[in-house]
Each structure stands twice: as structure tokens, then as C-alpha cells.
Amino acid sequence: MYFANPWGLLGLLALPAILFIHLYQRRYPPLEVGGLHLWLSDETVKSAGQRRDRIPVTRTLLLELLAAMLLSLLLAQPAWNRLTTATHLVFVLDDSASMLATDGTGASFRDRAIATMRERAAASGRTSRVSLILTGTRPVLLAGPAVEWSEAELELKAWQPQGTRHSFQPAWDMATQLAESAGELLFVTDDVNVDGLPENTELVSVGQGVPNLAFETARWSVDPETRAGSLYLRIRNCSDSARDASLIGVAGAQEILRRPVSLAGRGSLPLSIELPGGLKQLELRIEAPDDRLGTDSHLTLLEPQPRDVRIGIDLPDDHSARDSLLRVFQTIASLQFVIDPAEADLLVQPLVADAPATQAGSQWRLAIGPVTSTSESNSPRNTAGPFLLDRGSPLLDGVTLQGILWSGVQPLSSPVSPLVSVETDVLMGLRGRGPRREVVLNIDLAGSNLGASPDWPILISNLVEACRDSRPGPRRWNYQVNELVWFELDPSEVDLAADEPLTLRRGNDERALVRGQAVEVPPLGETGVYEVLDGERTLTRFAVNFFDPLESDLSGLEGGTIPRPEATESVTATSDSPQWLWPLFIAAIGVVAVVNWRGLRLSKNDSF
């Protein structure tokens, strides 16, 4: 037996109270007599509160104690079920940001969802156990498995859904696994129109269609020369009616931007805003009366830092590729040309066919033909394809080589990993090992149309950006939620051999990062400014913001319930206590009260 309401056992405190009353506060009916001294005997009880005697075991005392015990048991709600028969409620909780939207009363869908789960847990009895699963690409077991609702509710207090639109299937699969055959699955979301809901899952939608304004895009770029910033924004009205709003930008404690904006129904408004340099951090927000979701109406942007790539060109003046390269380099931003090849991040050199693989160190190299050789050279050949491209290489992103005549192809004696090849000939490849390698272009641009094709600037630009990305420090400063953040550390500044992991900090939240030259931060689902720390030293900062046009559109949300088809056959625990228990208790208390009353009434005949 257990008690569903153990506080009811406090009623047992009435037992000593009754004993105390019978000890000290007995109130017998008065009877005037003459010759009181003739009655004085061992059975005499002194007046109230004067002396403690042995407790007289009277019928009234026993009945009152019995009534108090029955009443306490009644309040404590005794039950005889074993806990193993408790209902296991598996709640799958939509963790998308739209759950933070509010209705007209100010209550958020999140609050509604918690209330729904609380009611469901209460309806399943105090012995029920719950598991909480947050949806997402990687579902999270927020509470459980099979914990008491009070414990789960503590976890829910800190729950702030910020996820972008995602599939619920992984969470459903996890829930089904947790529920096994005896649990009840309940999917709590903000839209009843869900595809692929498992048959054994009940759906409760706590959402409703509400208007919303959201940032769709934000890009902050800085002119490397003037350091002036340029902010490109796009704001979307996710409702059918036109809305007026205010765009407000704050840097530090200073408001640097306040602009009224008008958005047509379902309209999108692009904005380009010039910003002064040196702001470091900018807070942007949209203020509108009916903006029901704050997550996508607020941005925190960090000012991008220049990441110039130093280019060294170690080519003869009459090299066929020199002009083509310079023409492309001049169109790419944030490049510096250096004379000393040792200072270059990307060094362009002539291609030597039988040159041994070199240790590039931190330097990227582009070896470009026509091939020269220290030994006897073979005759070059031209080819128009078909070209075999390694699409997995970022260097070939956007490169098609359509209609390209590739000339000056010669055999390469040193091992080269092919990126572009024709039959057995390697036209473009990587030589050497490690993240930074020598890019080989086995070509003679004097006889090829590649330098004049659209593929050429793309190819060179990819190479420059790959070089830029490999430089120490972050590639970008502003990311979207769930976007992979990757950057490299400068070995000259960070002890890569240290044992302590790096720290990723957001406000008061911290997590460890694996220390290495390349640091990869797993997708972050929470917006805000993150810092990467080596001990107490800040290595870099970046911001994560919410952009998801699909998730920001709240107009189509719809509340409702989809019950389980086999709800009546669900395996649940029996009721906490037999139905006849309460009437039995009440009847017993009534009988005791009547017997006690009659006993007191007929006490004249009491012959104790």
C-alpha cells in the first residue's frame, strides 16, 4: 500500500491531540451533589489541566481515535497498486522556435504545452511516470526515462524552444523505443497538420494562427580599406495584412538606427544600411504590435574582421597564366600582394613536372603550367574532355568545364591526387599531404580557353577562399542556428598540446571543445554570442541567430487533437485505489460518529 497524498497522514497528529484532550480536557456533564466528600475515591479525576493521570481507555476515546485514523487515511488516499503498473507517458515536445509564439493573452504555446502535459500527467494518476523528448535532428531526452512529473517539470522550466523547422521522425522513433508496449505517446506541437504521425501517437496541437514579422537575412560586410560597414537585411511579413514596424539597431548602449518600415501582406522588404566601422556588436530588433514571435525579430550581429589573403606570385613575367591570374585576383576582395614569397598565404609558382612533393606548412601553393621539367620533357597534349571532376572538393564548387579546351597536358612524375582528369591524365590535382597542399594546374593557358571562361574566376576564387578559410581564426562571425562552425587556431598563439579542452561559453552556459588546430563546433541550436576560450583568454567570438522563413510563418498554425486510434485499448495502470474505498471510509467514519454520539447520549447507562 502507498499513499497518493502523504500529506494527509498529517491528520494522524489528531491522535495525540485527542489523547491530550482526554488527559487534560475532559468535560463531563455537571451534576450538583451534596456530600462530595463521599464520592472522593481512586476514580476521581481532577479538574482540567491540573494533573496528568493514566489515560482512561473509554469507549469514546477509542471511537474518536478510530475516527481520526480513518479520516487521516481518507485524506492520504491510500492505494494498493504497485508502482510497476504506473502509466508511462512519453511526451514528444516540439522544440521548434514557433512554440515560443504567444497568443492574444500573452501566454506562449510553450506554456500551453506544459499545461497540457501537466494535465495529462495528473489525469494519469500520481503514480504515473513521464519521459520528455525534444524534437530535433538529434532528439534530446529532456527528462526521463520514466521519471515523476515534478522532476520533468523542473527540466521544463528552463526549456526555451529555438529550433528551426525540422523533421519530427527521429523524436517519434526515440519515443516509440522508450514507450515500448506499455507507454502512452503524446506529441505536443503547435500545428495539428503534421504528416507521418505514428499510429500509436496522440497529437495535441496547442498552436493557433498568429501574425509575425521576421528577419529573413542579415549580412554585415566591412570594407577592408575604409572599415565602413554595410548591412543587408530582409524583413518578412508572415501575415496576410500589411503591417508597420520599427527597425531598431543598438550598438553598446547607443541606438544607432531607428527606421520605420512598412510591409505588405506576405511581403518581404530588403534593406541596405550603411554602418560606421568599429561597432563591434550590433543588436537589431523589429518592433511591431502584433509580432507574436520574438526569436526571429531579434538579431545579434558581430562586426566582421578583415581576413586578407596575402598573395605571392612567383611567375616569370612572360608566363601564360600571369595575366589571367592577376585579372581574377584584382576582382577578389581582401587580398594583399606580397613580394617576399615566404610571407604569402598563397604562392603561385610554375609547375615543375618532376618536382618532389613539398611540405607546404601553412602556405598554400598554386603550381600552374605550362609544365617545365628538369629531365627530358614529353610532348604536351590538348583535350576537350570529357573531364572527370571530383565534386567533393570545394575547389571545384561551381566549376563545370563546359566547352573548355584544356591544352598543354603533360605527364606528372610526382604523385598527385586528381581533381580534374581525362583518362589517365591529371589536369588538376593536389600534391602533398595535410590540409594545406599544393594545387597543381597541368595546363598551358596560352593554348586553352579556360582563362577566358566563367570557370576560371570561379576556380581561382575557390582556391583563394579555401586559403582564406584555412587561415587561423574564424571564417565568419555570424552564423545561423544549427550551422556548423569551424575555424583554425594559430599554433603560434595557442598551445595545441595542452591537456585542457577549450571552452565554449554563452552567457553562463559552458561546454568543452576538443583542442586542436582545427576546431569544430557542433551545430548550435541556441541564439546568442558565443566565446571560445583557452583558459581565461578569449580566442574568438561569433554570433548565432535564428533565420528560418518556414518556421517564422505562424499564420498557418492550427490547434486541435488527433487521438490515438487504439486509445481505448491502451495499456494503462488501473486506478490508484478501488472505487469502493472512499465510500467505505466515509461510511466507517459515519458509523464511528453515530456510535460515539449514541455512546455519549446513553452515557447515563455507561457501566465502564
Binding site: L31, V33, H37, S41, V45, K604, D606, F608
Partner: protein, 284 residues
């Protein structure tokens, strides 16, 4: 009390059971206990100096050569003093207080019918005790019995005016702490006729079980919580019986009569049964 039909009825049907033996009192219709001047010869005794020589039996002197005095029974009109306990214990029930008043009234009426002057002394109330005579006896009917005094204490302090050689009738429940031997000796030691009537209610005489009760002494207001059950009743009855035995013994030693009457039975039944049986009354 003459207005009380029950009292009148009793007074008409019964008379005081005064003994044939002499009692003391002023010269009257009743024969006294001592020698007197009546015509009824009582006995002889030797002459002592100072005796009335008119009572010398010269014939006996002639026969025996000894001076003998002829003793005649004294004719008296007896002084009758009725001591009525007026403490609150006499009011535990209406029957008890009424019977006590009726008894006092009836006995005083009967004494009056014999030519005796009856005085009802109210003991336990005001000090000195109030005494009712003649028409004042009518006040008995309305007089509240709410004295908080104590008959034993009154007697011990000599505040109860007892006339020697009078007929003394004490009406009380004697349910107050006292030593019966001392009390009775002081009460009836000098009386010529001594009757003690203990008035109790039926429950006081033979209580039944009431369960838990707060017993409050109606005189001292002291209280005790008590379960009135068979055991406590047995102990109470034992103490009451012992009290009555000692009262009876003490009264007998004083030449008196002790009787317990139950108020619930009513005046007539008490008089016709209990008091007649005890010899205090007899039918006319």
C-alpha cells in the same frame, strides 16, 4: 405551612410520638421526664436537705423510720426545637427541599397541637441562626434554602442556640464533612427528647450509574470529574452506610432516634411509614 394541604393532612392524622417517659419543659399537659408537681406518683427517694417537706411521705416514715420523699411526675408543656438544615445541599432536588420544609412545618404543627411551643431554627444560613415561631413558620414555604454554612461548624462554635431539656428534632441530610459522634453529642446531649431525621433523595440514597460526570458540591462549589459507575457507587454507598451507622449509633447513645427518609416518596409516605415506624410519629 398551614396552607400546605399535605402538611395539614399529616398533622391531622399523626401526632408526635412523645414517650410516656418524662420529658422536660414548662408545666403543661405532657408529663415530664423528671419529678414534678403533678398528681401522678412516680417513686420514693431519700430525703435530702432542701427538699420540699410537703412531699415527705409521713406514712413511709412511720413504717420504715426513714424520711422518704414522694416523687411525682412532672407535668410539662415541652419546648420543641426543630433544627432545619437550610444549606444548599438540601436543594439538590425540589422534592428534597420541599420535604424538609414540610417535615419542619408538620412537626411544628403537631407540637403546637400538643400545646408545645415549637421553634424552627434555620441552621446553616445566617449567623446567628434565624428562629421561626408561630406565624413565622409560614415563611418556611417560601424561604430559599441556600445557606452555605455548615451545621457541624455551627454547633462546634456554639452558634446554634440549643435549649437544654427540650425536645430536639434535627432535619438534615448530614452530607457534609463531620464527625458524627461529636456532632450528635453536642446536638442532643442536653435534650430531653432527641430525634434526628436524615433527608436524602432517592439517588443520594441509592445512586445509579451515570457515566462520566463532573460532580459539583453545591455548598463548597468544589468539583471532581468522576465516572459514576458500579464501582464508585459501591464505594459511595459504603461510605454513606458507614455515616448513617455512626449517626444512628451516636443518636442512640443520646437516647434519641435516627431515621433516614427518602424525599422522593413524599411527605405522607415518609410520615406514615418511616417516621411512624421509628416512633417519631404515631397515628392519632
Amino acid at each position: 405551612m398551614r396552607t400546605d394541604a399535605e402538611v395539614r393532612r399529616v398533622a391531622e392524622q399523626f401526632q408526635l410520638g412523645l414517650p410516656r417517659s418524662p420529658v422536660s419543659g414548662r408545666a403543661g399537659e405532657l408529663l415530664g421526664r423528671g419529678a414534678g408537681s403533678s398528681l401522678e406518683f412516680q417513686e420514693h427517694r431519700q430525703y435530702l436537705p432542701g427538699d420540699d417537706i410537703r412531699h415527705l411521705d409521713w406514712a413511709a416514715y412511720a413504717r420504715t423510720d426513714a424520711l422518704m420523699i414522694r416523687m411525682y411526675r412532672e407535668e410539662i408543656s415541652p419546648r420543641t426545637q426543630i433544627v432545619l438544615d437550610v444549606t444548599r445541599s438540601m436543594t439538590t432536588t425540589g422534592e428534597k427541599s420541599r420535604l424538609a420544609r414540610q417535615l419542619a412545618g408538620a412537626l411544628s404543627l403537631m407540637a403546637g397541637l400538643l400545646g408545645a411551643r415549637a421553634t424552627v431554627t434555620l441552621a446553616g444560613g445566617a449567623v446567628p441562626p434565624r428562629q421561626l415561631q408561630g406565624d413565622e413558620l409560614e415563611l418556611l414555604q417560601e424561604m430559599p434554602l441556600e445557606g452555605r454554612g455548615d451545621l457541624a461548624d455551627l454547633v462546634q462554635r456554639g452558634q446554634l442556640p440549643l435549649r437544654p431539656r427540650s425536645a430536639l428534632i434535627v432535619i438534615s441530610d448530614f452530607l457534609f464533612p463531620h464527625d458524627p459522634v461529636v456532632l450528635i453529642r453536642r446536638l442532643g446531649g442536653e435534650s430531653s427528647l432527641f430525634w434526628v431525621v436524615q433527608v436524602l433523595t432517592e439517588w443520594e440514597s441509592a445512586p445509579d450509574a451515570l457515566g462520566g460526570r463532573r460532580l459539583i458540591d453545591c455548598e463548597s462549589s468544589e468539583s471532581i470529574d468522576l465516572r459514576v459507575n458500579a464501582m464508585t457507587i459501591q464505594r459511595y454507598s459504603g461510605r454513606l452506610t458507614a455515616l448513617q451507622s455512626r449517626l444512628r449509633e451516636s443518636v442512640r447513645r443520646c437516647g434519641g432516634t435516627f431515621v433516614t427518609v427518602i424525599a422522593d416518596r413524599g411527605l405522607y409516605a415518609v410520615c406514615s411509614d418511616d417516621l411512624c415506624r421509628a416512633g417519631i410519629l404515631r397515628p392519632r
